[in-house]
Symmetry: D2
Subunit: 334 residues, 4 copies
């Protein structure tokens, strides 16, 4: 299976390395980036034959079966629509877009073309979250009642990033919104966001927040809370806990080693993995393997375009909830 | 120091045993219970000299310096007022009452008499929570931003108890409301309660709930969530986690032993302590020691009457929030 | 049941407090110590009626049913013999004696008099070790193959104590020798001691050792190792692990709280309980309850005189093994 | 850097995959195996240009700079000698040989030729063990006193393998002998092996053992014990603990996920990784990277031929100790 990579930035390089080195059945043959130097370096580093500035070169190439979209978020929807029209299967990084009309435009194009679209919610493929999902699916913990999703970054991104991020709910919580739906296999009907600026006043000055507890009510009656902070000084904190009628399941962070040291002061261990690319290394590989497999076997993709849309609705509702200080139903948004 | 015990039920017997057997400087000399058989058995079991049916006998006894009130909740406020008028120092089980006028009447009597009143929020004296509080006070974790309080019972109480309990917020969450204030050393300004009936429809039929996530906003800007369930099948679940600007602190449940078994199926350990009296054994002793010490040294009690009042306000606000599905400010209530 | 306490030192006071305050069915009525001040203080602190200098006063008192021997080790055997002759049941601290003839003399006297003798191997009554024993007895881990007993003190005792201690094997490892037999329910046939002076040269100057790995071979074929150090800077380290044909069981240390702190440096927790009396508080109570119960119901004591003798044989064998640097069979000693 | 792979069995394929897919600076261009089908499949699967039956084809190829020897153990020494004579750098799987004369012959050839030889003790490159080593090197735990190495297989190998394995000490403990030296950075002077047949009588019938505790005395005075079993039903058990003068360090097993499940029965988690190739995946990659780097930069290899020889001496000494039931000094062997 032949792929074209659109966007040769940080996440584009992750996918390039995985496809070229660790996925047997796929090969990136073209990489496009308006930053030609970045495209060239990516091609060199990961044995991609051609580097081009314009992604349309990829879309026009009959040799390319599918594209991997890792460009800037605001370009996703347009490229999806064009790629679909060109008959390419599509893997697109999250979020599809920050606005629903753009998303709907892209999804309509995908539907019309009958191509596959997988959205890059890689965490679903992480071993910890997959095990939690399994506990729900198999009934090990019975009917879910309560859930906590902890998702904290080691430190806030730079101000320039904050400005174009769409805000914390669209940029950071989006992963947790997806995780909430995925883990429970249930739909959220209402959100309530308690949030504030506790980490860095500069974030507040930019109109964003850095700390939040978002309550979710599900169709089943289950209730969940997402805990977000832009700064956990001890590192990247990614955990989940679900209480069900027959038991609970919870996960811990991932550590570089399991060594415990005991000294005259205290018992201690090293900090958890601090960077999302170290923490989720294997999940990026697994999601791409799943995409390749879905295309090759003409099976449904594990994270659909609809799965990419709902978290955006949730983020918009959370923002409205925060601004109005009231619970907001998703049906008000979409 | 001489004490009179009012109420010889389950919790009364806990205090009786602690005072008589494990506190050097205090002695219960009278126990009162309208159930004379209960009073008599308590006196016999714990070497209390006199058992009487009417608590007023205790209040009238000049030999009694302080009373320990363990009677039914609806009698607390009246007995406090009378005990204060009689010049007795008072230890009273939580909650003081389910209604604010009754509480205010009792507190006014205490203030007028100048006696000491300690409310039985024993969990403050638990080693785990005390260590968390220490982490906040000493600045080990910096300025608190986010908190999770997990508080789940092994199973719901009988319907007869539910009926007179005042509802889950006043009966069960009341401890967590106190804990929230205690751990952060901060005041709650607003609550939002997402709740439902997921454990047992009979609880719903009685007008109560059995599952809740209560969001708290503090004066400092910190945000917290209390997680309550009437049934965690694995046992009594009592944990807390705080994220601060300089780190986090979290506690685990208490287990009867630390043995880990590894078999061909899985790695496992025994369930945590299942009963609040086993889990909090030492904290009941510690709170009573603190009360005895406060009276003997004329020091402030560690849990004041005001500390007993605020959680009731929070419970009333949580109930209103649940019924109206909106955030409720404490200032609306009290 | 009425008891006489012989020896009002540290461990004597532990038993005094437990019996007087926490055991319903027993009462110490006499305490004897050649240090009259110590006897008096013990009597005052724990409501013991009479304090006397000479233990024979206790033996001669017809009101005393049983004695608790907490005097210096070298006096144990003689007092046991006399107490047995006086028809008293006996609880005696470990070890019975450092020499086998003295032990055999004492045990013969006990056998002749038909009284009960329980030896103070309190750790058998600890919740962790009891759970491990249960895992063996119930077959949860199948047939035991390998065992590690970790037993490390926070720091070495003073030189004066080392001199009269009988050496590390008789003073410290003795508990682990007992634990080894107890946990597996099996008899040791051979020991090999690799040991040295790594903690403090002064200990070596006194002819003792401070660090050891003692290998034990059991009649069943199981093999175990005891790990001893006079100094674990992080505190009192008491753990065990058994591998069996169907699984393994292991225990952890006991901590004052379960709080985990995560800071920018590392994840850490407080040190484990540091003092054997804090670590084993409940086991001292439980062993005395078991003794009282055995006497009252005329049941076998849970730790017999023979159980007190074997660990001394093992200690002597371990010392010989260390000195000769060869495995030593217990049958060579006794 | 160009490599030739000698031996296309299980471990040969691990190295082939790592070099071809995950090491930038090296490339296997030839693979040899007397089983031509295996050589061919390996070449196909991992993009190796040529597959040949005779390893001498590799040694004679001027294009090959280094060889990776993964053939049967009894062929290692001879191939090393020939490869050295051919001027090839050498990576050789452990053990070099079961006998010292063969090892010495190989090492002499390597010394004479001046080529590099790295022995495949991959566990040194595991994150857990590397962290333990770091704790020793940096002085975090002070001077090492006591060490436990736990190393248990999930189940015994088939009888055919046992027959040619050289016995448990040479086949399985060899890794732990290396680890002991590596972790402490110290030399063993004496071993004592307590061992037996507890897992499977058939292993005993073949003259081998399946369970052992091997005591090691180090030049520094430190003492260690290696715990080996051919069957831990819960999986592959690989842990270490060191007590030093300033603290201790210990590691835990590696698990496929961190999910903890709590049900009405117990708290449990999934079994640890069960297969050495899953457990040590990254260490195989890291050792090969280190070898490639040592050759390319002409730096010393991290695991030398001498490092490959000493564990064999220890295994021979352990076998002698077990048969004679006495401590055996390494100086008696070599």
């Amino acid at each position: 299976m032949t792929l074209g990579l659109i966007g040769a930035g940080r996440i584009g390089r992750v996918h390039a390395q995985n496809v070229q080195q660790r996925i047997q059945d796929a090969r990136i043959i073209l990489v496009a980036d308006p930053n030609e130097e970045a495209a060239r370096r990516c091609a060199d580093d990961f044995s991609v034959k051609f580097a081009v500035p314009d992604y349309r070169t990829i879309l026009q190439s009959p040799a390319v079966e599918a594209v991997v979209i890792c460009s800037a978020t605001h370009t996703h929807a347009q490229i999806i629509a064009e790629a679909a029209a060109a008959g390419k299967h599509i893997f697109c990084e999250k979020p599809i877009d920050h606005t629903l009309p753009a998303i709907d435009h892209a999804l309509a194009a995908v539907a019309k073309a009958g191509v596959k679209l997988q959205v890059g919610f890689n965490r679903r493929f992480d071993a910890n979250y997959a095990r939690v999902r399994q506990a729900v699916v198999t009934g090990e913990i019975g009917q879910p009642h309560l859930m906590h999703i902890i998702s904290r970054d080691p430190g806030p991104p730079p101000a320039d990033y904050i400005k174009v991020s769409g805000g914390m709910f669209l940029d950071m919580t989006i992963h947790d919104f997806d995780m909430a739906r995925f883990l429970l296999g249930d739909e959220v009907v209402e959100v309530y966001a308690a949030a504030g600026v506790l980490v860095d006043p500069q974030i507040g000055a930019l109109g964003d927040i850095d700390t939040a507890l978002v309550t979710l009510k599900f169709a089943s009656g289950a209730i969940a809370v997402i805990d977000n902070s832009r700064r956990a000084v001890y590192g990247y904190d990614q955990r989940v806990e679900i209480l069900g009628s027959a038991g609970s399941v919870s996960t811990a962070n991932v550590f570089p080693n399991s060594a415990i040291l005991a000294t005259a002061d205290h018992i201690h261990r090293d900090l958890p993995l601090n960077f999302f690319m170290d923490r989720y290394t294997e999940s990026y590989l697994a999601e791409m393997r799943a995409f390749v497999n879905a295309v090759r076997t003409d099976a449904p993709v594990p994270v659909s375009g609809a799965d990419g849309r709902v978290p955006v609705v949730m983020a918009i509702a959370a923002r409205a909830s925060y601004l109005d200080n009231r619970p907001v139903r998703l049906s008000e948004i979409a």
